[in-house]
């Protein structure tokens, strides 16, 4: 239930690995070869992107309401997450058990997930149960019950989860990092809330959130599988038509993460220290975003082809896992990396990382590294379109990020267009190795903390 790093068009999926031979990439199949994306608009005006495929008797639907955990009021942290946990706990005439039994009878899958900027829905159903499954989804979306006993049960689960998280070094490092980077901005708050905020949450709070966020003007939908456009059009009105047209979102200011150097050590009795490091980055709409994305692949996004993996793990055996990511949230982008090393050597890991970042900022990647990154990123794009539900996920994020219905066709060309000069310039612009925000959880020996005002 880690909340970071949803699968987005520009996040690595699974285990990304990589490096060169740009000429090979041109030969690689693009997902578009096998796919026809249709824009379907229902009679009632609800839009969805559809890839019709009758190969398997199933339908995958993904949807999102813009306005995720960032819409949680300051004193209601964890509200969106709480709502996401309650959406399969009963609706209409069906109480929690009846609803769950209905899901099982229909062999249908429904998940809700609260991201920072979006509330995500993920639905899979069998063609044979199509109409009944969409009926149930309509019920869940338009008439959630939020019964008192279900509320208490989910509250208990979230609080139990928070207690585990409080002792999970990765989770603690991540939350501390968000606090340092985003401060008072909604992104600085924990998506899952706090024990106190969850304990105080009421049914009215949940209803208020759903009333504000679950609206048609903030809805994007993708559908893949065994359904035609006309049927989908009718279905969209049926499933989503009962939702209000207009949302009522709180305005969110842009986050302006301060630069470090800042290092926070949180002492925990574990043999291995877990560290998170990073700083602000560029938004998705920035002209340099794609170059930064390629650069991140070279830094730490590219698994065994990345610089950090090479230097920290392969050459020195300092860590099992070290990686970096770009998170271009809607109101503030960050570049973030993670590493875990035994307490005695974690200081060395962080030094190696800083030194690699410095080297990249100063000299940029080599032509061979850029070629390798392009070759992987363009060649592996097709791998994201393997199953109905992974295709639906890609199409959903292209809509959320507003990249256009032809993006799948254009995407590899956009990558290919980035030059070595571009990426060197962007390396200088993005990376500030001496100004990282770093959080360390464990009992680091070398990175000895000195008490100082925070």
């Amino acid at each position: 239930m880690r909340q970071r790093g949803f699968l987005r068009p520009f996040a690595r999926q699974g285990v990304g690995l990589a490096a060169s031979f740009a000429f090979l990439a041109a030969l690689a199949a693009t997902p578009a070869d096998a796919m026809d994306i249709k824009r379907v608009v229902s009679p009632g005006g609800i839009e969805a992107w559809l890839v019709e495929s009758h190969a398997n008797p199933l339908i995958a639907m993904r949807f999102a309401f813009r306005g995720g955990a960032a819409q949680d009021p300051q004193d209601k942290q964890g509200l969106a997450y709480f709502v996401s946990g309650m959406m399969d706990e009963g609706a209409g005439e069906l109480d929690s058990i009846a609803f769950q039994e209905r899901l099982q009878t229909l062999a249908m899958r429904v998940d809700f997930d609260a991201g920072r900027d979006v509330m995500l829905g993920n639905v899979q159903m069998l063609t044979a149960n199509r109409d009944a499954s969409f009926d149930l989804l309509r019920l869940a979306l338009s008439q959630p019950r939020f019964d008192a006993d279900a509320l208490e049960r989910v509250r208990g689960q979230i609080i139990a989860g928070l207690r585990f998280d409080e002792n999970d070094p990765e989770e603690v490092a991540s939350l501390a990092w968000d606090r340092l980077a985003f401060q008072d901005h909604p992104y600085g708050r924990p998506i899952k809330g706090t024990r106190a905020s969850i304990a105080a949450m009421t049914q009215e709070d949940l209803r208020d959130y759903v009333g504000r966020v679950f609206a048609r003007d903030k809805l994007v939908i993708s559908v893949v599988g065994d359904i035609d456009a006309e049927t989908l059009g009718r279905t969209l009105d049926h499933v989503f038509g009962a939702l209000p047209q207009a949302s009522s979102l709180a305005p969110i200011a842009d986050a302006k993460p301060p630069m470090g150097p800042t290092r926070e050590v949180i002492v925990m009795e574990v043999p291995q220290s877990v560290a998170q490091f990073g700083h602000r980055a560029f938004p998705r709409k920035d002209d340099d975003f794609i170059a930064a994305y390629i650069l991140n692949y070279i830094i730490g996004g590219g698994g065994f082809s990345s610089r950090l993996m090479e230097e920290v793990r392969e050459k020195r055996g300092l860590a099992y896992s070290v990686h970096s990511n770009l998170f271009p949230y809607q109101y503030g982008a960050v570049f973030v990396g993670n590493v875990a090393t035994q307490n005695e050597r974690v200081g060395q890991s962080l030094e190696v990382i800083e030194s690699e970042l410095r080297r990249l900022a100063e000299g940029g990647p080599s032509a061979e590294e850029l070629a390798g990154a392009k070759s992987y990123l363009t060649g592996a794009y097709a791998l994201r379109f393997e199953s109905s539900s992974s295709i639906a996920n890609q199409l959903l994020w292209i809509q959320i990020e507003d990249l256009g219905i032809d993006y799948v066709d254009r995407r590899n060309d956009i990558i290919e267009e980035v030059s070595l000069d571009d990426i060197k310039r962007v390396a200088k612009r993005l990376i500030e190795a001496d100004r990282l925000i770093t959080t360390i959880v464990g009992k680091p020996v070398e990175a000895k903390p000195k008490k100082a005002p925070g």
């Binding site: 699974g14 285990v15 490096a19 199949a29 096998a34 398997n56 008797p57 199933l58 399969d88 929690s96 058990i97 769950q100 099982q104 009878t105 062999a107 899979q124 069998l126 044979a128 049960r153 689960q157 609080i159 139990a160 207690r163 002792n167 501390a176 800042t262 290092r263 926070e264 050590v265 949180i266 002492v267 009795e269 291995q272 698994g303 065994f304 082809s305 793990r313 055996g317 860590a319 099992y320 896992s321 875990a340 090393t341 035994q342 962080l350 030094e351 390798g372 070759s375 363009t378 060649g379 592996a380 794009y381 097709a382 791998l383 199953s387 539900s389 903390p449 000195k450 008490k451 100082a452």
Partner: protein, 478 residues
């Protein structure tokens, strides 16, 4: 919402990237399934090369990509005594290089070809896989065949990778009290069988593994006649046969295959209880394991009945355990369980519950015992069985939607001794299970003396979180 805490921990170790793979349910690979909604199934084609390599092809032409998996029929339970972790260590070292592939280049070459690769190890199998555009299949097949026979290891590579694995163990186990407890429970459940030894190995034994251990294990077990190649995706069986003959087909078989019979469990006479108090525990939990047969060792029909028993008893929020403990009695925040059914030797069923506020371990354990007693005495209803079974059978439709999942799920079963025919007949066998069969296996296997109970309790003071963060205004780089 059901919060799963432990059911993912019992599977295989992903050697390279941090996934823990749960044991796979058979539903995912049942083709000839009897759900009305299913259409014609993909045709699975199986053949064997002259050197004994078993090959399975699962065509799926929806996307121009393929998944290659090579499954070695060897795992941590085949390790020499005292060398725990060598199967998994070797899996890491398989990425180091050969005469043709320079050190550290394997994954980089796959990536340069726009592919993704990884590997994992469990007690019974070790598997390596790549996902690539279909025109790159010849490249990755040649690479995979090459490292089946031509691995090269330097002392330095081995020493560095040993540190990586010790870090991996710290991440997975030492930093996580619930993993430590699970290790202890497995040791108690399997007192004699090597399933009691952790896949990743014990720290002190990992620290002593060397290049000779790795190469010795490699030479013993890595051979075409001890492996299964699975290719799923946009290919035809004839293409695969030709490619496989040109690559893997050139490798000599081992003259004698290794015996995989392992020391078996003696009769158990008393239940075992393992308690761990740890400041990092977060929340009190109780887990219960029982020894059971696996699909490979069960008498006809018993594994199917256990499979359905556990789905009704412990999977999801309509399960008996969840209903009784979480919804009705409110003794647990969450509860669940699973059946580890895919081993070569006897498996286990597991139940767990995460305590609600102010519930004691004894109360929680008693609540679990209540559900176990109910399963033994009254069993399950026909309605519960029908609903669970149809949902289980329908899962295959979702699995069939992903070529990489198909490759993994088929490979898992075939590498642990099932045949394609077994797999295809499974839905029929599942349909024959009755409520009486389920009660019979509950009575036969949910037996106290064959059980291990694990209790994890947070230490009274939550010391780990009692300390304030220490801010260091400057990184103090040296």
């Amino acid at each position: 919402m059901v919060m799963s805490m432990f059911d993912q921990l019992a599977g295989a170790l992903d050697g390279r990237a941090g996934l823990i793979l749960a044991a796979f349910s058979l539903a995912s690979l049942a083709f000839a399934v009897a759900v009305d909604s299913t259409k014609a199934s993909p045709r699975v084609v199986e053949f064997t090369l002259g050197n004994g390599l078993q090959v399975l092809v699962i065509p799926d032409h929806r996307a121009p990509v393929v998944t290659q998996m090579i499954w070695y029929k060897v795992g941590a339970a085949d390790e020499p005594r005292g060398s725990s972790g060598i199967a998994h260590f070797l899996e890491h070292l398989m990425f180091k290089g050969t005469e043709a592939i320079p050190p550290g280049q394997f994954s980089k070459i796959v990536a340069r070809n726009g592919g993704e690769d990884n590997a994992f190890t469990n007690h019974d199998v070790t598997a390596y896989f790549q996902r690539v555009a279909k025109d790159r299949l010849p490249t990755v097949m040649a690479m995979e065949a090459d490292r089946m026979a031509n691995l090269r290891l330097s002392e330095e590579d081995v020493a560095t990778e040993r540190n990586v694995i010790l870090e991996e163990r710290r991440s997975r186990v030492d930093n996580d009290p619930s993993s430590i407890l699970q290790e202890q429970m497995m040791s108690a459940l399997y007192a004699n069988h090597p399933y009691g030894i952790p896949i990743i190995g014990w720290s002190h034994e990992i620290a002593a593994l060397d290049r000779e251990d790795a190469l010795g294990f490699y030479k013993r077990f890595y051979a075409p006649n001890n492996a299964l190649l699975v290719i799923a995706g946009d290919v035809e069986p004839d293409e695969v046969r030709k490619l496989a003959e040109e690559t893997f087909g050139k490798l000599p078989p081992h003259r004698s295959l290794n015996d995989r019979s392992r020391p078996q469990e003696p009769d158990h006479y008393a239940p075992v209880k393992v308690e761990l108090e740890d400041a990092r525990a977060g929340r009190m939990t109780v887990q219960r394991y029982y020894l059971t047969p696996s699909y490979a060792t069960a008498a006809p029909g018993e594994a199917e009945a256990l499979d359905l028993l556990m789905r009704i008893a412990a999977v999801g929020s309509v399960s008996k355990l969840y209903k009784r403990l979480v919804i009705e009695q409110k003794k647990a925040a969450s509860a669940g369980g699973w059946y580890s059914d895919s081993g070569l030797d006897d498996g286990r069923v597991a139940f767990y519950a995460i305590g609600a506020e102010k519930v004691t371990p004894a109360e929680l354990e008693a609540a679990i015992d209540g559900v176990i007693a109910e399963l033994r005495e009254t069993g399950v209803t026909q309605g519960e069985l029908d609903r669970a079974r149809s949902a289980y059978l329908a899962e295959f439709v979702y699995t069939q939607d992903s070529q990489s999942r198909m490759a993994r799920h088929y490979g898992w079963r075939l590498a642990t001794g099932m045949t394609v025919a077994d797999v295809e007949a499974w839905p029929e066998r599942l349909k024959q299970v009755t409520v009486d069969n389920i009660r019979a296996v509950a009575r036969k296997y949910l037996v106290e003396k064959n059980s291990v109970t694990g209790i994890l309790v947070p230490a009274p003071d939550q010391t780990s979180r009692g300390e304030q963060p220490v801010h260091v205004p400057h990184p103090g780089r040296s």
